[in-house]
Amino acid sequence: MFYDMVSKSGDNRQYRPARGRPNRQSKAEMMKRVLTLLVALFLAGPVLAQGGPLRLTITDGVIEPITFAVPSFEAETPQAQQVAQDISRLVVADLAGTGLFREVPAAAFISQVSSFVQPIAFSDWRAVNAQALITGAVTARGDQLVVKFRVYDVFSGQEMGGGLQFAGTTAGWRRMGHKVADAVYSRITGEGGYFDSRVVFVSESGPKDNRQKRLAIMDQDGANLQFLTDSSTIVLAPRFSPNGDRVLYTSFESGFPRINVLNVASLGRQQLSTAPGEMAFSPRFSRDGQSVIYSLSNGGTTDIYRTDLATGQHLRLTQTPSIETAPSLSPNGDQIVFESDRSGTQQLYIMPANGGEARRISFGEGRYGTPVWSPRGDLIAFTKQNAGRFHIGVMRTDGSEERLLTSSFLDEGPTWAPNGRVIMFSRETQGAAGASALYSVDISGRNLKAVPIQGAASDPSWGPLQP
């Protein structure tokens, strides 16, 4: 996968080992002697500790976006002209869409990068205050596409990581753009990316008292939407398997809520067997994808169960007369966070994965539901209902450091981006004309935005990074 590296000589005449900040002439002068030394060191071998490589640490505080420039990727074959431009624009859209990066528009560029292999005139990019520069080249032959790219820390004049290339099909050009953006995001933040991932959700249409619902899947940015079921019956709350090959969801096709397993590629469906008189809903896969944890209602009570998909063995995990639902496993699979109204109102609890004593972790004002364990294991996202408003929030796994990220008439059902840094959820507007839409927000509470989807949507489940 690694693309062979070209000379890293670049333009080091104005090398400045500072963090990505606009160059200051006086400092550059002062550092001339130091520079000579550093350049020599650089040419002699890999540079070890730089004074301040370009690095964005995602914290809870205010972040000044990193500025970046993406000159349109070079088209290495005539056929690649359009797609090279499209991929460049998608990389820009992905990065700028995070709110962590700000594009330096092409109109401001002093120099262009007409060839992927030519040395970079870093001074020209410093002059337009681009802290990061992303160059690339695209080859298209038939339906085959190859994209290669490099990322530079403009102010240090250093390449960040080696060049990379991705091969795919022209039809899948968006995925290749997302992969480039993921790599850039990773190199600058040190976090995993999330652009090349998909979301399964419920597409909604029709009036509020006769809502039509069908499962749909899309890229995380709303592109490539496909329907997975028709709208002949109510479907709810799809959940991706850990590797994205299957989706669990609740269907009313029997007239009773039942859990289906849908194969994303073949669209083949199977139903989790449920005895007459029982309702099954709120399913999630175990981390190995081999079993399902879910709620089963029988005789007025709702408890949490686990069923092994291969053997059919059912294990009852809670035994209380109250409502226990919305189970979500920890990343290492040893604990389950869920909601229960055993105290009188909905609250969050954690228990061992095989059942046993549960400890309550939510103690704030209001009611807490739909807990979802972060893929990083550090946080639990939840829906909170308090004083007539709904919120999406996060808390540590011991219930401390609760932070509400949103507030509206009705926000619910958080799902985590694969890197555990962004949360997507449903937001429904008030009144007879109320409709649901998908939104995303950073775990810091910043960058709240609607996911662009044609039509109404609810119940998102964010899948893994694609291979």
Binding site: S232, G255, T311, R316, G413, A432
Partner: protein, 176 residues
């Protein structure tokens, strides 16, 4: 820890299994693909027969009342609800050819999962009441639509009060 092993965990979903009760009458929610005999919105759908015929589903739905309402977060049956359910029980005992599915519903104030469980709790409370009045439990099934099928669509208590309901939906099926 109960371990219940079932012979078959996964059964194929039959494409034709649109509804387990094709002969249902009246105000049931019946899923999104509402058939001709299912009044999705409830209030206007009276069922078949004549209001003046005490053995007709229409009499059951309109004269006796096919639904009971609940207060927020509760599955307790009110005094008024008990009177309606007494009538339902009497009718079901008299008209032994009918079965019923009790559909529980919630208003939109609450998460989807919790509301499904709450609707189930309400439907089950109605079922238990009807059984306590002598209706054979085998003739009564329960399901829940949570907040998925409101009949009133404003976001105010006047609508919410109508949506927090359990509806007894008749179906015609001779008990063998």
């Amino acid at each position: 820890m109960n371990v219940i092993t079932k012979a078959t965990v996964l059964i194929l979903v039959l494409a034709t299994a649109a509804c387990t009760n094709p002969n249902r009458f009246g105000a049931g929610s019946g899923g999104a693909g509402a058939g001709a005999d299912v009044g999705v919105n409830g209030a206007g759908a009276g069922g078949v027969g004549s209001v003046s015929d005490p053995s007709s589903p229409m009499f059951f739905n309109q004269t006796i009342g096919d639904r009971v309402l609940f207060v927020i977060d509760s599955s307790a049956i009110s005094q008024e609800g008990r009177a309606i359910l007494d009538g339902q029980a009497q009718w079901l005992l008299t008209n032994a050819d009918y079965r019923a599915i009790i559909e529980g519903h919630a208003d939109e104030q609450g998460t989807r999962e919790y509301n499904l469980a709450l609707g189930f709790r309400r439907a089950n409370a109605v079922r238990e009441y009807l059984v306590s009045r002598g209706v054979p439990s085998g003739r009564l099934e329960v399901t829940s639509y949570g907040k998925e099928r409101p009949i009133e669509i404003c976001s105010q208590e006047s609508c919410y009060a109508q949506n927090r309901r359990a509806v007894t939906v008749l179906s015609f099926a001779r008990i063998s």
